[in-house]
Assembly symmetry: C2
Homo-oligomer: 344 residues x 2
């Protein structure tokens, strides 16, 4: 490998020389530390501006802080994650921290592990982990190294904070909405890529679906397609469900993305929404209200969740060691994709 002849960076030493003070003084100004006179502050600030100095992150990292927050996302295809990230960005902007994202999903637990290691190795000051699949003990191990906030997972730990929506309420809202409309043959599309652990939100949604169906005496109509929370998953799952006889009159997809795939499969089968089949999703990503077929969905305020996660992370970085659990209550947003079933 050839060494690039990049121009030498401006360092804290250059600033110190230029301002005719010590590097320590410059560092103190940078940290807003105690024991710096106003005159010193001004002098150093001027030198920094004049030279266009920017702190060298790696050097800071060697001393313990990087002013970086790592975000682990399964992937970036789900628009709901963008809402979360917007909230996070809003919260940490102005705090001096910068968020970096890494994709954790798509290639199984080994990839997830690699991605989380990558953030730890890069010495980020805190990690927001969205929908982790790994074990609680692994999360706690990481929390020992780095302040950690977990989003979208139903467990508790004394070592990290949890931000989630109440998926039991959300899923129940959908199923009860469909039942209230008169549906009985209501099917569900779930994600089983990460297994069926009860801490995973997809498991909670699926279990709640089954519970509510049973409570309403509809246990015999329970029909679950276990694919994934993606367009492809929704498409395949729906094809599977449509092949059953009698076919469902409503489909509750565990995520909006899967619901999109469901719409495609239904259309391809020559059926209409909501005429022949009602479809509901979950997440209420901004796009679903804009879609041609406005999708009934469950809103869980991703921006608020992201914002809260950012706040909790900053608190933890600031020294809080007690654990916090923040849960938002989801609401149903009925739109045109759900309607009473045709009388048979």
């Amino acid at each position: 490998m050839v060494t690039r002849d990049r121009q030498r960076r401006v360092t804290i030493t250059d600033v110190a020389k230029h301002a005719q003070v010590s590097t320590t003084a410059v560092s103190k100004v940078l940290q807003n530390a105690y024991g710096v006179s106003e005159a010193m502050r001004a002098k150093v600030r001027a030198a920094i501006d004049e030279l266009g100095y920017r702190p060298h992150n790696a050097a800071r990292a060697m001393r313990g802080r990087t002013f970086t927050i790592g975000v682990l996302l399964p992937h970036i295809r789900n628009p709901f994650f963008a809402d979360i990230l917007d909230g996070l960005t809003e919260e940490i902007s102005g705090s001096g921290y910068q968020a970096i994202m890494v994709q954790s999903g798509g290639r199984g637990p080994a990839a997830e592990r690699r991605a989380s290691d990558a953030l730890v190795d890069r010495q980020v000051d805190g990690i927001l982990w969205v929908a982790p699949l790994c074990s609680k003990s692994q999360l706690e191990k990481m929390a020992g190294d780095t302040p950690l906030v977990v989003l979208g997972r139903h467990d508790r730990s004394a070592l990290y904070d949890c931000v989630l929506d109440d998926d039991e309420i959300g899923a129940a809202l959908v199923v009860e909405h469909l039942i209230a409309l008169g549906h009985r043959r209501i099917a569900h599309i779930t994600d089983d890529v990460g297994g069926r652990s009860s801490v995973l939100l997809q498991t909670v949604r699926a279990t709640t679906y089954e519970r509510v169906m049973t409570e309403h005496g509809l246990a015999e109509h329970i029909a679950v397609a276990a694919t994934s929370y993606t367009e492809e998953g929704g498409y395949e799952g729906t094809r599977e469900l449509l092949a059953r006889d009698p076919r469902p009159t409503a489909i509750f997809a565990g995520a909006d993305q899967a619901a999109f795939g469901a719409l495609a499969a239904i259309h391809e089968a020559g059926l209409t929404v909501p005429g022949d089949i009602s479809v509901a999703g979950y997440d209420n990503a901004r796009v679903v209200g804009f879609a041609h077929i406005a999708l009934t969905s469950v809103d869980q305020d991703g921006a608020l969740m992201g914002k809260t996660a950012g706040r909790l992370l900053l608190e933890r970085i600031g020294g809080r060691t007690s654990a916090v659990r923040f849960s938002v209550t989801p609401t149903l947003v009925p739109r045109r994709s759900t309607a009473p079933p045709k009388t048979p």
Copy 2:
């Protein structure tokens, strides 16, 4: 701020002690450097495994390399970016490099600047910058610090590589497709958030639209709504276009996301697609084929572009200094959202 009592990391010194060799030797093994016997290699490898050693990234960064590639995306809402990232990830997986993402857009040029600075400050070994808005001189300045590949921008530089699709061909394909169907009043939705520089792909698409219209004697029907490549932008732009009299019979949205917004606005106005109005997008993000209304779009193979960008970046990091420009030829994917206009 409280110092966390995180357990001390395993360092190269620990490995060296455990293997009873020097730190230099361990480093050499890590680098696959010349001058290391097979026995030494094995001994060090064993010690590394036994201790679970992972190199400390910040310390490496101080010496020049981080094994990190930075990706600057305007935002993560556009599913097309996910295709690019998949390609990049595929290419660099196994190379020892890790990609980290930063959002550059959403809050104007200052935010873009902050995001790019963040990556430079974090000493990434190379940067893939998707759809930058800043000036060429700023890009070249960055390229002096860090190997740079720019994706989706119509310029050339001796200092960085360019990956793009031929937007002239792509836009022409759409407009000619609509004209061939019999449309005359074809409108366009463009993005002018980043200004109207001719190096921006949105400008190229808009200019090409006007050129092809003119070439077909349809100059008087040119109608452009300048909003943004988002659902909201497509929605607002379409409302604006629908208010004209006579209203267009076809809308070419410069991006799929905007096309989704257009579909919503058209539906809201009580019109049908493609019955009353044809709609075409650009990017052919995977989701558009799945949507209920399958959208006519332009495919530019984001995965290939991402993969190529990754390759070029690795080459540049490896020492290549000559500039490369890689252009994919887009293809039209006609779907159900475009059809001949109603005879008036």
